[in-house]
């Protein structure tokens, strides 16, 4: 399950003692809370009091509780990174069993803050039918080898559907779309990023330095559009929300979202011969060809924007230039969508191990809450869980 950061939105009755005196409550119940930050709400728009907890010794779970405003229920936002929860980093591709373990850890850490312990079913979306919990944000990714940088380079001229914004690019990474929008793509060398954040030893770049992460960040209507289907959505407060998913659905959503980028993948459609009067289309091809040249730092869309700025060309002219330019880029591209996002590519993608981080993360087996309803929500009926031949590294059998 190639899943990175996630956000769960839900509504719960929080123990009033936690809200009134968080420090004492945490100490009294020996909760594994790393930091707590109360906010009296004076500076916020609706003056709602909030309490933010970083839960779990190893990071990966952060909870924001808003003071009860719906009959004693609090709006709860849970930022949950299953990979960080289990391994201290997000370079691994999780197995379904590991993802379920991470959910179990989340439950055991957050159950003690609830007024009624049985309400844990509303901590995890999809566990309770017609529940109030849903996935509001998901990061999905694919790891591929890119030793010569051709894949990273191939995305330089990408254009999101219905977007005119140029890609933001750095030496080893790029972003398509803004953080504020409901879909954003991020493509970067994962091992290099992990070294920069001190999650990986630099010597590991020898083996893992070529790994490129193709990541998509989904929320709001885009999350529903790409991941939602009849089985995994429910209407909550009048809005369709994603409440559960199977592993293969994540891959399908990832593939579909990346497939919607223009100017990246090889098209088999032949380039039409241009008529003499089709001057703007010719300029489109010229701009595209220049953007692919190593002697320019500008992407195709950036060159188009420069043209607009310097000549004040009309939107019709720019549209003709863009359309033909993107067609040309697709014609000359070496990236094939069906190869990049094949079933094999998802199945055999490379995981990044980090001894540096993984050696420090241990969860008592008793702390990993288990319930068949969690499996029902996330395990496809025709898929068996892999047998465990050895304990995962994050298991700790007994108190020492």
């Amino acid at each position: 399950m190639p899943i990175d950061r996630t956000t769960i939105q839900t509504r719960l009755k929080i123990h009033p003692d936690l809200l009134s005196d968080p420090c004492s409550y945490i100490k009294e119940h020996q909760l594994k809370v790393r930091t707590l930050a109360p906010n009296d709400g004076k500076k916020s728009r609706n003056h709602t009091k909030k309490l933010t907890l970083d839960v779990s010794t190893y990071k990966g779970i952060r909870v924001e509780l808003c003071e009860g405003i719906h009959d004693g229920f609090s709006d709860v936002k849970i930022e949950f990174n299953p990979g960080v929860c289990l391994y201290g980093h997000n370079g691994r591709i999780l197995l379904l069993r590991e993802f379920v373990d991470a959910l179990g850890i989340l439950i055991s850490h957050l159950k003690p803050i609830l007024l009624n312990q049985d309400d844990w079913v509303d901590l995890i979306p999809g566990v309770r039918p017609k529940g109030v919990a849903y996935w509001s944000y998901l990061e999905l990714f694919l790891h591929i080898e890119d030793p010569d940088g051709s894949v990273l380079k191939g995305f330089r001229n990408a254009q999101g559907r219905n977007s005119q914004t140029p890609v933001r690019h750095w030496a080893d990474s790029m972003e398509i779309g803004s953080k504020r929008s409901n879909i954003q793509y991020s493509i970067y060398r994962k091992a290099i990023e992990m070294v920069e954040h001190k999650k990986l030893e630099p010597k590991q770049l020898e083996d893992d330095g070529n790994i490129l992460r193709l990541e998509v960040r989904l929320k709001g209507n885009k999350l529903v559009q790409y991941l939602g289907n009849e089985r995994n959505m429910e209407e909550i407060d009048g809005v369709k929300r994603v409440t559960k998913f199977y592993p293969h659905e994540l891959n399908t959503a990832h593939c579909a979202s990346f497939g919607d980028l223009n100017g990246v993948y090889r098209s088999n459609e032949p380039l039409a011969k241009l008529a003499q009067k089709e001057q703007m289309k010719a300029l489109g091809r010229l701009l595209a060809r220049v953007s692919n040249d190593p002697r320019t730092t500008y992407t195709f869309l950036e060159l188009r924007d420069q043209l607009h700025f310097y000549t004040d060309a009309s939107s019709a002219t720019l549209s003709a230039i863009s359309g033909e330019g993107l067609k040309y880029l697709s014609h000359v591209s070496r990236l094939r969508k069906e190869d990049l996002f094949s079933d094999d590519a998802y199945r055999k993608q490379i995981t990044i191990f980090s001894e540096k981080k993984e050696n420090y993360v241990r969860h008592y087996i008793d702390d990993i809450y288990s319930d068949p309803r969690i499996f029902q929500a996330y395990q496809p009926p025709d898929q068996r869980l892999l047998r465990i031949n050895q304990f995962p590294s994050y298991y700790l059998e007994e108190l020492t």
Binding site: K43, W170, A282, L283, V290, T296, Q306, T311, A313
Partner: protein
């Protein structure tokens, strides 16, 4: 807080924020009940505290669930114009760093241009306000760097964030920017070019600016670019070395004082090292009456400036795509020469000449409150620096 806008007579320079690293203990009564403390000591009531409690396992404890509790807090004074960042230990709550927003403090606007004496005035207010919160009044010497005598420099400068507003500069005209301290610009957005990263010691950010400012002829709308420079760590010490006072502490160099005019000097000194070009839009291209706005000749001329592909090669590419006739090619060659002659790139560094950084503006009216004599002595003496400005 004085909200009288200053009179702008040139490109306005702003001090966005300053950061001090120090270690001074807060009064325990303030921590226990800051509102009561403020009332009792007649402090300005706008105090906000945002605590974060850190609960970590004690590795030395006998019991596995023994935790060490540490509270960090952000304390905002005077509507956030002064921010104290504190950490608690067994002896009390210690201010570890202070952020000061001089323009916000004096004018209620973080982006207000600074006037003569603003630095000393804002540091005086900072010292006055924070001194009231301390456990030991002698620690007031360690609020603002440079005031402690001898070698005991507890307080040092750790960040200077300043900005120059340059009217009439359009960032789309800036190309291929790079700087020795940061490397090339990367990750540009439509309204922003950035050199360096937040984690680097030097960050340069050039952003589209639209602002209403008060000029000699009254209020006017200004469109241009904000050129922001954030220096910290080694870059801060290096760039301020000739304009300020550097002290050594445990074999490491720190900036402990500087004059108001040195902020502009450092900004200019750093910016004159910026590489890249500014390519203005030719007047002829703005004039729509002179034919089609977009022609192949213009595009080829422009591309030869934006890339390092020679013009001849670009023309060959165009020929391969369009297959023009001989006469079209001949005409194009002539037109390209004309359009190329209209594009006049100049080095970006030339924008930052000394005239842009001329004398700070005069304040419309004086800010209430006395200037601290010691601060005026340490921060108020401007050297004759005209010969230090780079031309």
């Amino acid at each position: 807080m004085n909200n009288t806008p200053a009179i702008v007579t040139h490109d306005p320079m702003m001090i966005r924020s300053l950061r001090i690293t120090t270690k001074i203990r807060l009064h325990p009564d303030f921590i226990a009940d800051h509102r009561e403390f403020a009332r009792r000591h007649h402090l300005a009531p706008e105090i906000d505290i945002f605590p974060v409690t850190d609960l970590r396992n004690d590795p030395n404890a006998d019991f596995i669930h023994t935790t060490i509790e540490k509270t960090k807090a952000s304390i905002l004074l005077l509507r956030g114009a002064i921010r104290l960042f504190t950490m608690m230990d067994s002896e009390g709550d210690w201010v570890q760093s202070i952020e000061l927003y001089p323009s916000l403090l004096l004018y209620g606007d973080e982006k207000h241009p600074y006037a003569n004496g603003d630095l000393q005035q804002s540091l005086s207010i900072l010292k006055e306000q924070v001194a009231l919160l301390l456990a030991d009044s002698l620690d007031s010497l360690h609020i603002v760097p440079g005031l402690a005598q001898g070698k005991d420099h507890v307080a040092v400068w750790s960040k200077v964030d300043c900005e120059l507003l340059m009217p009439k500069i359009q960032i789309q005209c800036l190309h291929n920017l790079s700087h020795p301290l940061t490397g090339p610009a990367q990750g540009a957005k439509r309204n922003r070019i950035q050199l360096g990263d937040k984690k680097d010691d030097c960050l340069i950010r050039i952003k589209v600016a639209k602002k209403k400012i008060v000029g000699v002829d009254g209020a006017q709308s200004v469109q241009g670019a904000r050129v922001r420079l954030i220096l910290k760590g080694k870059a801060l010490t290096l760039e301020f070395a000739q304009f300020g006072t550097i002290a050594t502490r445990e074999h490491e160099k720190f900036l402990v004082s500087f004059t108001e005019s040195s902020i502009a000097q450092v900004h200019q000194s750093v910016m004159t090292e910026i590489q890249g070009t500014i390519l203005p839009v030719p007047t002829e291209w703005r004039n729509q009456d002179r034919g089609k706005p977009l022609t192949t000749a213009k595009v080829l001329a422009l591309l030869s400036q934006l890339t390092s592909i020679p013009l001849g090669e670009l023309m060959t590419m165009d020929k391969e795509i369009r297959k023009p006739s001989v006469s079209t090619t001949k005409r194009l060659k002539k037109d390209v020469q004309i359009e190329s002659s209209r594009l006049s790139p100049v080095p970006v560094s030339s924008l930052f000449h000394p005239d842009v950084y001329s004398a700070p503006i005069s304040r419309g009216s004086s800010h209430p409150g006395k200037m601290d004599a010691e601060i005026a002595r340490v921060y108020g003496m401007d050297r004759d620096v005209s010969n230090l400005l780079q031309v």
